[in-house]
Every structure is written in structure tokens, then in C-alpha cells.
């Protein structure tokens, strides 16, 4: 019987770290995290304050000084950039991203749950081949299919239509979901399934009443991992949408050429763009590695 890893925080790790390890951990983490802090800090600045050096990243509300006269590393926070970005129509981009994420998540679950269920419980003989078929679709680089996808979608009249992204994101996340879900299903003790069988439950009852409630955390994790990838996706968005179906990453394109002039606005848009998925990722931390390794590492 397979034993699952205990939750991360409960795993002992190596006992009693030397102080050097703790210090190195904190210092390296803060260095690596600094661009994120700086991005969020910059989003709260005026454009003039955004380019002040030495870098300022501590908000000091209620102090009314010129950016260069503030105490070291501090700046006077303002929400004006967020307001500007929202006035420039960030909202609809955000809404469409949300739709693409939720829509593809529903499709992924509808297709993936039954499939993973049948594969986990070996309901077809070629379950192993089928699993590897799905993983191989994940390894197909998008550039290998983008030309026909573009032309077909164009012929279907779905260019610059959210449906196109929805389909591509479903295909993109389906293999990950099937591998993840399978690994969750396999953790259900066989006795439970057997007992249901003996009681004469049909597959549908067995799946909806007994199995799905048991893997509910796994379903959530699967949806979260898929949401991270779909929300951040850019290649299909830039290839298949233009104006009407554009998602949040497409909003960011507007900042590619604006050298230095709009960093605070760029940071405000960037903060709003990245925040939802960062929060989701923090929540799903424990399951992240399973999703990323396609269920291979738990």
C-alpha cells in the first residue's frame, strides 16, 4: 500500500538548522522575491517616484515630500495608477481571462474526471498507453500546431473569439489534469471501491457519491494548477486574438514599447495581472509539485 507524504509543514526536514542555513535561506529568498516586492511597490508610486534611485520600496503614507526628498527607501503611496489602469479598460481583459480560466476548467473536469477515473481503476486494458498518449500531447510544442490551428480557427470564424482560447486551454490542461486526478484516484483504498461494487452501485453512483467526495481536495488542486497555466498563457492569446477576445497578458503588450515613461502604470497593471494566480498558487502550494511533475512526485 502506498504511503503518502505527510503534509509538507509537518515533515521534519533536517533537525535544528545551523543559524547559517536560516540566514542564507532568508537572504536568498528575499533577493529572489525582491522583484515582486519592487513591482508591487512601484505600482503604488507616481511616475516620477517610480524612477527614483536608490530604489524605494517601503510605503510611507501621510508624508508629503518630493520623491527625492523622502527618507531612504521610502515613497509616498498612491492608488492613482490603479485608477488609471482601470479607466483604460483593464476590467474587460480581466473578465475575459476569468471566463477562459473557468470555462476551460469546467471542460477539463468534464473530460478529465471520467477518463482519469477509468484509467486509475484500470477499466480499460490499455490504460498505460492511454496515459502516455496524454503526456505526449503535452510535450507537443504549440509552435508545431499553431499554423493549422490558426487557419482552422479562422475558417470556423472563431478568430478573436474566446471559444478558441477555451478549447486550446482545455487541450493544454487536460493531460496534466488526467495525470493528477489519476494519482489522486489511486490513493483511494481499493476496499472502498470494492465495497461499493458489492453493494451494487453502478459506475455513475460509485463515481459521484463515493469517489468524487473523497478526492475533492484533489479536484480543487487540479483546477488550481490548470488555472495558473491558463491565466498566464500568452502564446495562443497573442496568436489567436486581436481585440475582442484579448486576455490579461494581451493587456500587458501595451507596455512593451513604452520605455521608462510608464513604469508605475506598468507595475499597477502587472500587479493586478499576476495577483490572482499568485494567491491561488500560494493556496495550492502543497499540490503544486504534483501538478508540475504530472503526478510523478507527490
Amino acid at each position: 500500500m502506498a504511503v503518502r507524504a505527510a503534509p509538507r509543514s509537518a515533515t521534519p526536514g533536517v533537525e535544528r538548522a545551523p543559524i547559517g542555513i536560516a540566514v542564507a535561506g532568508w537572504v536568498l529568498a528575499l533577493i529572489g522575491f525582491f522583484p515582486v516586492i519592487y513591482l508591487v511597490a512601484t505600482s503604488l508610486k507616481t511616475e516620477a517616484a517610480a524612477v527614483v534611485l536608490p530604489p524605494t520600496f517601503i510605503p510611507l503614507p501621510g508624508v508629503n515630500l518630493a520623491p527625492t526628498e523622502m527618507p531612504p527607501f521610502t515613497f509616498a503611496p498612491t492608488f492613482e495608477q490603479y485608477q488609471t489602469i482601470l479607466e483604460r479598460g483593464f476590467g474587460p481583459f480581466f473578465g475575459r481571462s476569468l471566463l477562459a480560466v473557468i470555462g476551460s476548467a469546467i471542460l477539463v473536469l468534464l473530460l478529465g474526471v471520467p477518463c482519469a477515473y477509468a484509467l486509475a481503476f484500470r477499466m480499460i486494458e490499455s490504460w498505460r498507453d492511454t496515459l502516455f498518449f496524454f503526456i505526449s500531447t503535452k510535450f507537443l510544442p504549440p509552435v508545431g500546431i499553431i499554423v493549422p490551428i490558426y487557419i482552422i480557427i479562422n475558417n470556423l470564424g472563431l478568430l478573436d473569439n474566446l471559444v478558441a482560447l477555451l478549447i486550446m486551454y482545455t487541450a493544454m490542461n487536460l493531460p496534466i489534469a488526467i495525470w493528477m486526478l489519476r494519482s489522486f484516484f489511486e490513493e483511494i483504498p481499493p476496499d472502498v471501491v470494492q465495497a461499493a461494487r458489492v453493494d451494487g452501485a453502478d459506475v455513475w453512483t460509485e463515481m459521484t457519491r463515493i469517489i468524487l467526495p473523497m478526492v475533492a481536495p484533489g479536484l480543487t488542486a487540479t483546477v488550481f494548477i490548470g488555472a495558473i497555466f491558463a491565466w498566464n498563457e500568452f502564446f495562443f492569446a497573442v496568436s489567436l486574438t486581436a481585440t475582442k477576445a484579448t486576455t490579461v497578458p494581451m493587456f500587458m503588450i501595451g507596455f512593451v514599447t513604452s520605455e521608462g515613461l510608464f513604469w508605475a502604470k506598468l507595475a499597477a497593471a502587472g500587479t493586478m495581472a499576476m495577483l490572482p494566480v499568485v494567491l491561488v498558487g500560494w493556496l495550492a502550494q502543497r499540490q503544486l509539485v504534483r501538478g508540475l511533475s504530472l503526478g510523478a512526485v507527490k
Binding site: 533537525e15 507537443l140 493549422p148 502564446f235 499568485v278
Partner: protein, 312 residues
């Protein structure tokens, strides 16, 4: 076997929970459950690739949609022998992929070792390490391009000047190196997560026993931790390669493949040929070649995954 605190297993060898005997009805139910997902995946991913192969044999530019001719292998011949950008993009792809994977693995190994110890705030440290992987890639690319790497107002150059180094316009002077840095920032957390799982599957008793025997920290790491991690390192390296070969976002957002073609990789080249030059045939031929290269790489990956699934 069951004392392992961690499972590292693909399809596990375990007793079949359902007797296959007399399960003809089960068999068809199984097919019904699997079919929609399989059919969907075939239609959206496999068939388009077959179409890509067909397109790669055509002379077809979307700017002249009425002039489609069969061209045989001309597109491939052009790409291999006459296209000046292809060898550059191929080399850039290889450098970016290998460089990013190696650096990300090293950083990830360090991060994982630092997080695998107990100290106050370890959870916060871990969360901070993970975060770059979650940031929308186009946002992290823009953040690095502007706030961090700008030669005048960027934090990195500011710090360099503090210690007396000259300012560097990273993305103009060393574009591939700078992009590698951005990719490493994003992927080191991925490596950390996989290696950390590996480390936590190594029982504390072994490490402690070694320490009691007077083994130094470095020796312990070199002779106990690293060998144990080798499968996890392989997994991380191969998964990382498959994803980083496809890197597009950071190049689009920072250099657009430039200056010139100095930071153009194959995905970005294909994008340019497909959507700027609108050459269906050439873009398809390049796409097929990237897929073939990926398949060669993935064969190795699948073998590693399969070996993991056998649980040794």
C-alpha cells in the same frame, strides 16, 4: 517498500482493484469514460500536427492566398540550406534551454536544501522561493526588462554602480544571457519543488546516522543527498527542457528576438514567419522540425518516467 514516506511513482504496480474477469461490461464502460477526452485530445493536438506536416509540403503565403502549390521538401531545404536565421535560432534555443536548465537546477538545489531545514519562518521562505514561478511570465519579463535591468533606472545596474562596475544594457548587449536569467528566475522554483520532494523522501535517520559518524555537511550532501536525488534531478531537467524549449513570452516581451536575431529562438522564429511573413509552408516546416527535435528529447524523458513508474 511501504515504509518509504514518499512515493515517487507513475502507474503503480498494485493489485487491480477491479477483477478484469467477466468484466466485459466494465470494459465498454471504461471506453465510454475515456473516449471523450481521447477524441478531444486527438482533434485539438494530433490532427493539427498532421495538417502541419501537409502544410510544410506546400508553397503557400497567406498574403497570396490563391497561389498554393505543392512544393515537396522545398521548405525544409530552404530552412536548412538557405535561411540565415535558422542556424542562429537553433543555436540560441539550445543555449537558452541548456543554460536555463542547468542554472535553474543549481539554484533549485540550493533553495531546496535551504528549505529542507527547520528554522523560524521556513514556510515564508519557501513561499517566497516559489512565487517567481507563479508570476505571469509576461509580467515578470516586463518587470525585469524595466525596473530591474534598465541601464539607467534599473535596480541591478544601480547595485553594480554602487560597487564600481560600469552600467550594462543587459538586454541590448547580452540579450540571450539576460533572457536566460529571467527564465532561470522563473524555473528555479520549479526545480526546487521537485528536488525538495526528493530530499524529503530521504529518511532523516540516514542523514543523522551519517552525521553521528562524523561526516561533514558537504560530504553528507555529496555522498548521500546527491546520489539519492539523481532521479529527481533527471525528472526536473527533462521536464524543464521540454517547457523551456518552448520559451516565447519573455523573448516577445523583452527583445523581440533582437538586437538583430541575437535572441531569436525557434518558437519566436516560427511565430515571426507565421504571423509577420505569413509563410504557411516555411512556418510549418520549422514547426515539424521543432516537434521532431522535441520527440527525440521526450523519448528519453518517457523512458525516465517509465523507469520511475516501475519504482525501480
Amino acid at each position: 517498500m511501504s515504509t518509504q514516506p514518499q512515493t515517487l511513482a507513475l502507474p503503480r504496480r498494485r493489485p487491480l482493484p477491479i477483477p478484469l474477469v467477466g468484466a466485459l461490461s466494465n470494459w465498454s464502460t471504461g471506453k465510454t469514460l475515456v473516449a471523450p477526452a481521447v477524441v478531444f485530445a486527438i482533434i485539438v493536438t494530433q490532427l493539427p500536427f498532421v495538417v502541419t506536416i501537409w502544410y510544410s509540403l506546400l508553397r503557400w503565403n497567406l498574403l497570396r492566398p490563391d497561389n498554393i502549390q505543392f512544393a515537396g521538401l522545398d521548405n525544409y531545404l530552404f530552412v536548412i540550406t538557405a535561411d540565415p536565421v535558422f542556424p542562429v535560432a537553433l543555436l540560441n534555443t539550445v543555449i537558452l534551454t541548456i543554460g536555463s536548465v542547468v542554472f535553474a537546477l543549481v539554484m533549485g538545489l540550493i533553495f531546496a536544501e535551504l528549505v529542507n531545514h527547520r528554522y523560524p519562518g521556513r514556510g515564508i521562505v519557501r513561499t517566497m522561493f516559489i512565487t517567481p514561478f507563479l508570476i505571469m511570465p509576461v509580467v515578470s519579463a516586463l518587470t525585469w526588462k524595466n525596473m530591474m535591468l534598465n541601464p539607467v533606472f534599473g535596480v541591478v545596474d544601480y547595485l553594480m554602480q554602487l560597487v564600481g562596475l560600469p552600467a550594462v544594457d543587459w538586454l541590448a548587449q547580452f540579450p540571450l544571457f539576460a533572457i536566460t536569467g529571467i527564465v532561470v528566475w522563473r524555473w528555479a522554483p520549479f526545480m526546487m519543488l521537485i528536488l525538495l520532494a526528493g530530499m524529503q523522501s530521504l529518511s532523516d535517520e540516514i542523514r543523522e546516522a551519517a552525521r553521528v559518524d562524523g561526516v561533514s555537511v558537504l560530504q553528507e550532501f555529496r555522498y548521500i543527498v546527491l546520489p539519492h536525488l539523481s532521479r529527481f534531478i533527471q525528472l526536473g531537467a527533462l521536464l524543464g527542457s521540454v517547457y523551456i524549449v518552448q520559451e516565447f513570452d519573455s523573448i516577445y516581451m523583452t527583445t523581440q528576438g533582437g538586437p538583430g536575431t541575437s535572441s531569436t529562438n525557434l518558437p519566436f522564429l516560427i511565430y515571426q514567419i507565421a504571423f509577420n511573413k505569413k509563410d504557411v509552408g516555411e512556418a510549418s516546416a520549422l514547426g515539424v522540425m521543432v516537434v521532431i527535435l522535441t520527440i527525440i528529447g521526450t523519448q528519453y524523458l518517457l523512458r525516465v518516467l517509465a523507469r520511475l513508474s516501475e519504482g525501480d
